[in-house]
Symmetry: C2
Subunit: 230 residues, 2 copies
């Protein structure tokens, strides 16, 4: 069966940047599955697969459609049980939700304050209008003001990574010697920033940086196929 | 074989308060194991079991001695594989370390600023001297100053619980419908504060409070056997 992953992209379709789509890309590689990708801008998503989902990723596997990155990982784990596991059992499945919760509440909001304007600048014109309007409403300020003090936000952000740093400074991945979907959850966030914004905030000597580089190298360097924003 | 758990206590031996010892207590109940407890003050720990460990918990199971709460959980999971699982497989084992890392770096330091002086006040005299000296050196200030602004620290602390709150507001435990060792890791921190300090900081309507109450009720109300500090 052919697998298609619908991803989010801006003007350059070769640079998908959604954190949630990157989680699924690595999950598919982790399972050793072949897949094609197709990209859509924010305002094109409602037109995908007959309006199946308001958000990407959307995975199409034969006749099956699944949206939401965590739901897609669950689908892959169930549909391809003989391939390498994404969760490492029921406990790993449950606790991956905590990693997701921490990532979305600690890392994502911080990275948005680094990259929001750069994300905007890379979008197609219709998407720029949508993005500016929806995000400025959500943030309560202009995109320009939202990211204006990003340099000062780096230090507290790096401090907030300590729970991750303490683990990946002692072992290769959150999953231990090899990665689990939990690693891809956190990786997706940093990859989102790497692909969409030239703003650099991870120090070279930070164990989190070394872990991120290990993630970028996984599965034939899947994450490196898209160069960092310059 | 007889199992003994060595716990930390102050002047009142019926009120063990170490977060790490509470994790093990619930882990033993989770496994359905009978055990006896013995308490020691901070300065008595080096005299336990021939100086086996500088810290409690120490678990003695027949001729086997194990120290460190996570190592004890691993020991129990291996030694009693037919009892209910603490990790739910290898993935849960690995990601429990992330829950531990988050708990020790986000929750413990915050609760120390609520409870440090109250902990001191409940200790035996030799332990008070040890505790004040070692903690004031670590904190870089007097215990009194360390906790002086605790009322103002409640709101940011509650905000920092959002990754936990988002999960336990939707499901009973971090482990899903039933608890895993990951729940006991976080529970231990809140139980430490509950037993050692009358300072209350969890709002009644907080999903974290409801989760903590569920943990207190587990295994025949093990956690409630010690009343909250008054």
């Amino acid at each position: 069966m052919a697998i298609t992953l619908y991803e989010l992209a801006g003007r350059d379709a070769s640079r998908p940047f959604s954190p949630h789509c990157w989680k699924v890309r690595l999950a598919l590689r982790h399972k050793g599955l072949d897949f094609e990708t197709a990209t859509a801008g924010f305002t094109e998503i409602p037109g995908l697969e007959g309006g199946f989902s308001k958000t990407v990723p959307i995975l199409k596997d034969g006749d099956t459609l699944v949206a939401d990155s965590f739901a897609i990982a669950e689908y892959l784990e169930t549909a391809y049980p003989d391939r390498p596991t994404l969760f490492g059992g029921e406990g790993g499945h449950a606790l991956s939700r905590f990693v997701e919760s921490w990532t979305q509440r600690v890392i994502h909001p911080a990275l948005a304050r680094f990259a929001a304007l750069d994300i905007h600048d890379g979008l197609s014109e219709p998407d720029q209008a949508y993005f500016r309007s929806s995000r400025e409403k959500a943030f309560g300020t202009s995109l320009e003001t939202f990211v204006a003090d990003r340099a000062e936000r780096v230090e507290p952000f790096l401090k907030s990574l300590e729970p991750l740093r303490a683990i990946v400074g002692k072992q290769a991945f959150l999953g231990g010697e090899s990665p689990l979907f939990a690693d891809y959850i956190v990786f997706g966030a940093f990859q989102w920033a790497r692909v969409s914004s030239p703003f650099r905030f991870l120090p070279a000597n930070d164990p989190v940086t070394a872990w991120f580089e290990r993630c970028l190298a996984l599965h034939g360097g899947e994450g490196k196929k898209v160069p960092a924003a310059a």
